[in-house]
Amino acid sequence: MKAALKKFIFAELIYHEAPDRFGEDDDLLEAGLDSMGIMRLIMFAEKEFGVTLPDTEIEPDNVRSLNALEKWIQQARSA
């Protein structure tokens, strides 16, 4: 899951000199993920992983890193 998220983020939303070196806990918001990008990322995750991510849960803590995103998506899956 994290690999697919990472591939989408660095291909479509954020430029990074060396995406391979971007860690799973590194800060995506610091790296440039903006409000429009977050919405596109959520839509990608919903389609790719077959989940619904509620608007009320779109918070910095849920999108700040690849690990946080994965945890959020898994929680939504099991809800």
Binding site: L13, I14, G32, D34, S35, M36, D55, I58, E59, P60
Partner: protein, 437 residues
């Protein structure tokens, strides 16, 4: 001649064809010119705390032309398509001294001057020296690049590693080439119906004027760090982390409505750009790499603050879900073969012939210059400005740097009533900071 001189390189560069978004902005440029104004010129202004090394800046301009021949080019129509033809003409840093402390007046003089009829430059750079520091103005014509490109170009001029910046293909054409013919056709019809939906609501406008001699003016509202943080927090509470831009748009619709918009129709439509550039990417520098999105609301929706933000967010979610952001690309691609006037009639205006945009809008986001600033000089602030069509005669341009938000209102005088705009700005403050009674 030095084999690597700009002149020689630009001769080798050859014509550079407009991409679909370049042509869209060219259509707007032509409308602005047809109304007797200079054209679709934009400005990016850095407020610098000291004077940068101007000789070094000139050398960077020379390097810009060497690396990106399109920086100095003329427009040419070949068949039905438009091209940039590099001329190799040197871009000279234009130096101004502000003796009366009113450096903004000099910016307005630059914007309101008639472009030279002999090969006007598509891009110019101005240093306006103040008593301490000054303003660095990048002035360009929209078909050349978008606002995000303007930031990248300034980064190039101030970078220690200019070699990291390079020419690259149009992101729109790259995207289109990844899709099958059927996907493009499907998207085309989606975009057409999206356009028709946007057209279904007659847009309220800041002015009834459609012609007459106009000049560009602007007002800048700066929010300090505490106010900016407050706005950011409120935006997150209201439209969520994913809807900051929609918070600005919703507040702006409400501010116009509360100030009694001069031409009140069924609702508001604020088109805004969907940028295909990745955040922080140093390339592409030139070209427009945007698609178009619409924020639309009826006047009764605008009247209900909470309801309006929920509506705008749902509308945006649906747009992304249905890929309407990307759907616009094939429409723009096909539009390249239409004349500017026909393009405007078929794709830009409302069916009634009226103007779709209640105002022009741009949010360039949170920009950073780092500890080194610009060529070693601290960047104290920034703002942007632009010409726009009449109507609407008004543009709200948003940017943030050093944790401080700036709203810049560009408008046409006398088309837009300044006392009305002052009221809009006051209401905008109240809406953004939620100090609404």
């Amino acid at each position: 001649m030095d084999p690597a001189s700009p002149k020689r390189l630009s001769e080798e560069a050859g014509p550079i064809r407009f991409n679909p978004a370049d042509y869209f902005t060219f259509v707007l440029d032509q409308e602005i010119r047809d109304a007797g104004m200079p054209g679709g010129y934009c400005g990016f202004v850095l407020e610098l705390g000291g004077e940068p090394d101007l000789e070094s800046l000139q050398r960077r301009l020379d390097l810009l032309l060497e690396r990106f021949p399109r920086a100095s080019a003329r427009l040419e129509k070949r068949g039905k398509r438009y091209f940039w033809i590099p001329t190799g003409r040197r871009i000279l840093l234009e130096r101004h001294r502000c003796s009366d402390g009113d450096s903004l007046r000099i910016i307005l003089e630059i914007f309101n001057r008639k472009p030279s009829s002999v090969e006007p430059m598509p891009l110019s750079l101005h240093w306006i020296a103040g008593e301490v520091g000054g303003l660095l103005l990048l002035n360009w014509i929209h078909p050349l690049l978008d606002a995000r490109g303007g930031k990248i170009l300034l980064d190039f001029l101030g970078s220690n590693q200019p070699e990291a910046f390079r020419e690259s293909p149009s992101l729109i054409e790259e995207k289109l080439s990844q899709w099958s013919l059927w996907k493009k056709i499907r998207f085309f019809f989606k975009a057409k119906s999206h356009n028709e939906q946007a057209n279904s609501l007659d847009s309220s406008l800041p002015t009834a004027a459609e012609q007459g001699k106009q000049s560009l003016r602007f007002k800048v509202r700066r929010y300090d760090a505490a106010e900016t943080q407050r706005i950011s927090r409120l935006a997150q509470q209201t439209t969520g982390l994913a809807g900051k831009t929609l918070y600005y748009i919703g507040c702006f619709m409400r501010a116009m409505e509360q100030a009694q918009v001069p031409v009140a129709k069924e609702g508001y439509c604020v088109p805004y750009a969907f940028n295909l550039r990745r955040q922080n990417a140093p390339t592409p520098v030139f070209g427009n790499h945007v698609s178009c999105l619409f924020a639309r609301a009826t006047r009764s929706q605008v009247g209900d603050r909470d309801g309006l933000f929920a509506h705008l967010l749902a509308q945006y979610r649906q747009t992304v879900q249905e890929e309407l952001d990307f759907a616009y690309l094939p429409l723009m691609w096909l539009g390249q073969w239409l004349s500017p006037a026909r393009y405007a009639k078929l794709l830009r205006k409302q069916k009634s012939g009226g103007e779709l945009s209640s105002a022009w809008f741009s949010d360039i986001g949170d920009l950073r210059w780092g500890k080194e600033g610009f060529l070693g000089v601290p960047v104290d602030g920034l703002f942007t400005l632009c010409w726009m069509t009449l109507p609407p005669g008004l543009a709200l341009l948003i940017g943030q740097s050093n944790g401080q938000l700036t709203l810049s209102y560009s408008y046409l005088h006398p088309a837009v009533d300044e006392s009305w705009l002052e009221r809009v700005m006051k209401r905008m403050d109240a809406e953004l900071l939620e100090t609404v009674a």
